[in-house]
């Protein structure tokens, strides 16, 4: 039996009911990893011996007892190499553990490996990794998306049962769309950023990348909650998994016209419009929305993210850890340079301050929309997975690919991407955005959509 093919929920059940052992599950995942890694390159580090060892001694009372989980390589885990897929941190062994991983370990999970990503999470392709691109399991000539591309590829290819990623703008949702996984991006502050190598500190959000909506909900309930070590952590108890809805009667769902840009692939448009029909059959009312042009979100995101990057990467001096600044790759240099420019004397007001004001306008626009509708849907990405090499020489690749997730990111809103179709054999993602701290509604709409469709059951042929 290939236990690696199980969902998280089924794997937990199997271990608790002693149908199989954690060691068998871990071994099946490791076998699959060994088989697929030469093709996919989804991992930077695999904790083979450690994972097997830990699987032999598990506490059945814990919610994730003996569950192997893949963690994006920007989460620090004490004693384990943590590179953020950047050569500057090639030899860095973390001296402490991130809150998210600590919570998973406390819940009984086993870290099976660290997944590949765009270096420093700077990108939407996993092609800018200093350890080579991850390939899309549906077609290895294509990109998996990013920056959490390793986690999404490892999950859909059944190298693991489940995984954790992180999102600044799109890095959970977009690779989920391109790989056919479920990606849940929580409200900003719902999940602690402590111990996650920082990119854009006013937006960074850890979150699950999974095979089903229920798997994502379970992981969010475990990793969420207030953390005094993160000053932007919302003082709230861990998120509770909501009781499911029977249907969507009485629910108003908005479909922004601007979320169908000209560059959109026709198959994506068709899939999302079909998804609207499914939601209507479930009782929802779909309303077209006029929202602020996403080009402003692209601009705000570009300024804020580059500015925060230039500040966050200032700590990499080669003195306390890592290699000297000369080890930064081209993409990191581009971002640090632009961020230094937008924060520099004479440009601060026009760029950084103006961007923070336009961010307020974007938040106000969402507030206005949420007076009319309960949730907003749209395509997660305007395209399906692009071919390898698509990012070369494109300084704005990520921002343009992520144009449909940037507005909600800037407003700190939660969102979930779920599979809603295929185009040329590549998955398409539907995103559901809800008001701040309303992950319950996003999860419930996603659950109903998932249980009435079978896109999530399809797997790549590898």
């Amino acid at each position: 039996m290939e236990l690696n093919k199980l969902t998280l929920i089924d794997a937990i059940k199997g271990i608790k009911e002693k149908k199989f052992s954690s060691t068998e599950l871990v071994s099946d995942c490791l076998t699959k990893i060994e088989q697929l890694e030469p093709t996919l390159n989804a991992f930077v580090t695999v904790n083979k011996d450690q994972a097997i060892e830990q699987s032999k001694n598990i506490d059945f009372d814990k919610p994730l007892a003996g569950i192997p989980i893949a963690i994006k390589d920007n989460f620090c885990i004490k004693g384990i190499r943590t590179t953020a897929s950047a050569k500057l941190l090639d030899k860095y062994i973390a001296q402490y553990t991130s809150t998210v991983v600590q919570k998973l370990l406390d819940a009984g999970a086993i870290v099976i490996g660290k997944t590949n990503m765009d270096a420093w999470a700077h990108g939407s392709s996993t092609e800018t990794s200093d350890y080579g691109p991850t390939k899309n399991p549906w077609n290895p000539k294509h990109l998996p998306g990013g920056s959490s591309g390793g986690s999404a590829a490892a999950t859909i290819s059944d190298e693991v049962v489940t995984s954790i990623g992180s999102e600044t703008a799109g890095s959970i949702r977009q690779p989920s769309a391109w790989c056919g996984t479920v990606g849940l991006k929580p409200s900003f502050g719902r999940v602690s950023r402590y111990g996650v190598i920082a990119m854009g500190s006013s937006m960074d959000c850890p979150g699950p990348i999974t095979k089903t909506v229920d798997d994502a909900a379970l992981l969010l309930s475990i990793i969420s909650g207030h953390d005094p070590k993160d000053a932007t952590s919302i003082p709230q108890n861990p998120w509770q998994i909501p009781t499911g809805l029977k249907d969507l009667k009485g629910l108003k769902i908005g479909l922004p016209k601007a979320y169908f840009p000209e560059l959109m692939k026709p198959a994506v448009k068709t899939a999302v419009l079909n998804a609207c029909e499914t939601l209507k059959k479930l009782g929802a009312q779909i309303l077209e929305l006029d929202v602020l042009d996403p080009k402003y979100a692209i601009a705000v995101y570009t300024v804020l993210q580059r500015s925060e990057v230039s500040s966050n990467l200032a700590r990499f001096t080669g003195i306390r850890y890592g290699e000297p600044r000369s080890a930064f790759g081209d993409e990191a240099i581009r971002r640090i340079m632009l961020g230094t420019y937008t924060l520099s004397s004479g440009y601060y007001d026009a760029y950084y301050l103006q961007a923070q004001k336009v961010r307020t306008l974007i938040i106000q626009d969402f507030d206005k929309q949420f007076q009319k509708v309960d949730a907003i849907i749209g395509p997660t990405s305007p395209t399906t997975a692009l071919p390898l090499g698509a990012t070369e020489g494109k300084s704005m690749f990520g921002e343009l690919e992520d144009m449909l997730v940037e507005p909600s990111t800037l407003a700190g809103l939660p969102g979930i991407s779920i599979p809603c179709g295929f185009g040329d054999g590549l998955p398409i993602g539907l995103q559901i955005i809800t008001p701040q701290l309303r992950e319950d509604l996003a999860v419930n709409i996603a659950r109903l959509f998932e249980s009435n469709t079978d896109y999530h059951l399809q797997k790549p042929n590898l």
Binding site: G189, S202, P228, A299, L353, Q356, T360, L361, S395
Partner: protein, 99 residues
């Protein structure tokens, strides 16, 4: 705001601020790429933001502090474990002030 173009002089100044050494062969290419990015952000000037307050982060939490209680933190050994160069239990850096 006019369309921004980043000159080589500006590029060198920014690199100095960011403590980055840019390979002279790459200067022109990098200046072009930064100018391209700048052209996308210039749209910010199109919107009227008079009387609009900036949002620095979305939770509106302010001045988050903790009680002044000593807690266990990284040991000196752990803190120094990743440094290339240490001396008597300290990080070793280049001198910033000339003798």
């Amino acid at each position: 705001m006019s369309t921004s173009k980043i000159s080589l002089d500006q590029l060198r100044h920014i690199a100095k601020l960011a403590r980055l050494e840019i390979n002279p062969d790459k200067e022109n290419y990098l200046a072009e790429q930064l100018s391209e990015t700048a052209s996308y952000i210039d749209v910010l000037g199109e919107l009227d933001t008079k009387n609009i307050e900036p949002t620095y982060q979305t939770n509106h939490l302010k001045n988050v502090t903790r009680d002044d209680i000593i807690e266990e933190s990284l040991s000196q050994k752990d803190a120094l474990s990743q440094a290339k160069d240490t001396y008597n239990g300290y990080f070793k850096t280049q001198a910033t002030i000339k003798k």
